[in-house]
Symmetry: D2
Subunit: 335 residues, 4 copies
């Protein structure tokens, strides 16, 4: 399904080289002030333009097509669209029978009987994350003053991210990375047993972001090497604050009021300029493939703002459920 969320619901649509991509948001409370300006910063962070990101230039201006009236959300569905302009579809035409290694080309073709829009990855493109970021901007406003910060803490196994990326570019190659997301000022009690733990909801939406290979909360994989006596976080007061935070801010799937911490592993961009081998699906023969088009050397560079967005979306949903965000935002609220 292309929808996610129980109360703050988002639906993602569009294709990389179609007319537009975007998001339909259902369940946003009325009365939240929203303008197209509000999206600027996060969209710019997603676009990056930093060394290591694709030179495809799109202005990425959001169009609010519904659900906002006189500068405030109305309570009706909000459609935000982004028109595709700078598409170079001819770059991709040859790919229909030559699935790019590491991409969804093969699986999409099999699943959709060859009817999928394969240009630039179509509906599987990283460009679809525009809708996530846009929904995240609204969610962040809703959950104010909850504060979410994600950052790339490692690339290609190194903490010197810049060097690692330069090295990859020099080799016509790409590298992966690790992004950490920390949420502060979050209330106790978010998360729903049995199946809607905070980890369940976050990991569900996080794995919708292309290129994510793993997620860990708090101590994460290192927990597997620890003793219980080390790992148990000791409470220091009755608000739930703990000395250590191996739990990552979650016990029993429910936020405990400490910072919510998780990390994700991002694989190296699958599209690289190096020649690779693939199978010609028409003939079944192995052939060489040069993936033309414009690539990110380190797609992980663009992940932090997307990770913040999906985190905000999940928290908005859970805060609505827990009556921590009102059904109508009052006009003099700080949001």
């Amino acid at each position: 399904m292309n929808s996610f969320g129980r109360l703050f619901g988002i639906s993602i649509y569009g294709e990389s080289h179609g007319k537009q991509v975007g998001v339909l948001i259902d369940g946003c409370p009325a009365g939240l002030p929203i303008s197209e300006e509000d999206f600027k910063d996060d969209l710019l962070r997603r676009k990056s333009g930093a060394k290591g990101t694709t030179p495809r230039i799109e202005d990425d201006l959001p169009n609010i097509e519904s659900g906002v009236f006189n500068g405030y959300t109305t309570g009706a569905p909000i459609l935000i669209s982004f028109y595709n302009k700078n598409t170079k579809s001819e770059d991709y035409k040859e790919l229909f029978n030559f699935p790019r290694p590491g991409h969804a080309d093969f699986t999409a073709k099999m699943k959709f009987g060859g009817f999928n829009d394969f240009r630039g990855g179509g509906h599987f493109s990283g460009r679809l994350t525009l809708g996530l970021v846009a929904a995240g901007v609204i969610a962040k406003k809703l959950i104010h003053p909850v504060n979410i910060q994600a950052s790339l803490i490692e690339a290609g196994g190194k903490t010197n991210v810049k060097n690692a990326i330069d090295n990859a570019i020099k080799n016509d190659d790409s590298i992966g990375g690790i992004v950490e997301c920390i949420t502060e000022n979050i209330c106790v009690g978010l998360g729903e047993p049995f199946f809607d733990s905070v980890e369940s909801l976050l990991s569900h939406i996080v794995f919708s972001i292309p290129a994510i290979k793993g997620i860990e909360f708090g101590s994460g994989f290192s927990a597997a090497k620890m003793f219980g006596s080390e790992h148990n976080d000791q409470l220091i007061d009755s608000t739930g604050k703990t000395i250590t935070n191996f739990a990552g801010g979650i016990n029993g799937g429910i936020t405990n009021g400490n910072p919510l911490i998780f990390r994700v592993a991002v694989k190296p961009t699958s599209s690289i300029s190096k020649t690779q081998k693939t199978i010609n699906l028409n003939t079944g023969q192995q052939e060489e493939l040069m993936v033309r088009g414009r690539h990110d050397a380190c797609i992980a560079l663009r992940v932090p703002v997307v990770l913040e967005a999906v985190t905000a979306i999940v928290i908005a949903d859970l805060m609505l459920l827990e009556h921590k965000v009102p059904r109508v935002i009052s006009e003099n609220s700080a949001r």
Copy 2:
């Protein structure tokens, strides 16, 4: 929510020290032969009884209360209950105001205003996984001949699991571990963009299992250290088989026909026999706590069969969606 699944839907209910725990399964096709015998092996694996698992003895006999008639599923909801018998609630009475470190005691009390059944963790207990295992038995039959195998590959950071556990027991402590799950014989095309990727659905349900701190698919966290040219799996034929399997059997969120591989990190059991410190929620003062009751030294020992179950549940759901499991199982099927 205590429900999961779109077409093969499961709902978990019950408390560790209440009358019963169980699962309600909705959407199972009619015509599947089911008897209470079918549950024996997996329930036994979950109970373990191995060194390192709790000595609480429950016979764990499943009661099929509805949805099965003359030995076959009817298409109506299947309720499977497990009666609690061997409960020692007095062990837990004092815990109401003394949250055990690492447990849901504090968060559950805050979220549910103190009305939660706190005895033995109540609805947060690992005992709730009985329902997952029961639903998994049915799902495994449905998806035959898909083959799922999970195993504990590391405990306390060591591959010699037995030694690591002995060491923990000797120290009145507990240890974590890593469980790997491999699914073979799986078809191409399972998983739904944008939000119901195979990774999204699996991680969602996996994080419902108590004590899981992380999940990674294929290369997982090691992908963050790799180059694209290394990580891209090379296709070798038009069925989708690849030389390497860093993708873990998934591209673009959709199964590619190669083995589906993921690993989870299990934290050390929070309940340990060592004295710990906590806060008395009545007084706000720090106090010492001895967690009585019966504990698992390495809860990860019990995770493999639960992991297989939840994997089977997700695959059953996706195969139904993809019309790979029929709506009525024919009587002479091999299932």
Copy 3:
């Protein structure tokens, strides 16, 4: 699906002649006082025992199997089961190949490949409404002081219900009726555009009750004969009160604060003692059929309490969504 409700979710299970029928309730706030006594009155009203209702005697005692602790709901799922005792399955054995006219026998057999439990209608039996009534009892407590009253206002086309039923019994026949449901003390603003209007949600759950053939809100079918100038309800104050109530308390799918009024048409019980004709599904030949077993001459007699229950369930769901029912009921609430 056997589940209904977004925040106050209910799942119905069981078969008329199986081990039990019941309901699993997910999303009920913690802190609501509940005892098995609370169910008595409504269960008694459903059982009826009045002239015109089946003489099958079941004690219909509810068993609260989970989700209630020390007399209060815990916030975890509530399983309420009713054991079947007074089953006479032999009455129904011959029906497998002889579908009773007006029943689900034929459609259930086709849909479920003959695997359905056909005894007494199985999962299609009116007995399944026990779970609805039980969930309704809890919902009514939650939404207090909203007041729902349903009554049989017509049977067999006559307002003298008693005579109409006597007449049907005398003729070994059955009759239909009309039940009206009026909800007072309901707040303004319940109902969600576009698809979850109050009428949409109510009609959805109402048509789950066996034997319902129609539903109308406010003016209902008579609206089709009216002029706009007659039909438009005139507001008399700024709380939304209107002089007439042709709207039935709903505008644009949202409650307007006036009484919520709807009526349903109940068909005559399909099971009658008269000899009828059917098809032998084995031979394709027409044969005569005597439906043995115990029947209601006027099933509409049992509908009012079920209608109140499903109305309460929908209102509870919408009030939770609108933050009009708290997430934790405070102990000194009047509920």
Copy 4:
């Protein structure tokens, strides 16, 4: 929620006087040929233009913004938008504090704290049914050769629809009507116990259409006056055909292979040119109101095509669930 459907999911968005209205369709199988031409006939029927319908002229051209590639559906979400051009918002400006009788003006203002887009009814406008009709066009293609026909069988209580409408127009008034919908060539076995009966799903979506006050299946409200011996439809062969069709093609919530028949009551258009009384919400005083703008004298005239659309949407969903519509439409299919 503004979404409906489990497998063939639709989401409605937009406002009468905003930038656009439309529908997002998720779950449509790949491989269905679709062009903007396909929508022409049904959109024209909805627009009507017949005497008795509003003179607001919109070209109502559908824009397929995503999900279709090279003339075929891709399996990705399909966004269809309709731009609003011929809006006269000044007609409605004064209405903010003067709720029109029979409209959602009052309830929408209360529910959304005055932030709703009230111009022309905003998100509550009948214009939103454009999205339903568009989704219905696709659904009809999917379920081919199932044949759905709806027609206005009565207006203002008369079968001479034309005269009744002329009379209403002459009096600056509006009238209601009854629309009947008959579906033929439908398979046995659609509909899901306990809560997703065919009647439940159809009535749920039908009551999303503005102005609907009642729905009845088969015998409907007349069933309440009948004896069981009359009402029970007699089977005539083992395919399920019956002599009479009081069941309306449904038993136990499941289609029985006979024509699926239901009727809806449509209220008279609330907007009339006659002067009416309302309350000034600012002052609480009664005032006179002239509803300017362009009105339908008989909105029921536009309902048949919408009713066909929502019926097709429900049937498509149930046929997908029952594996009667494939996941990928083969290119040489007749659809």
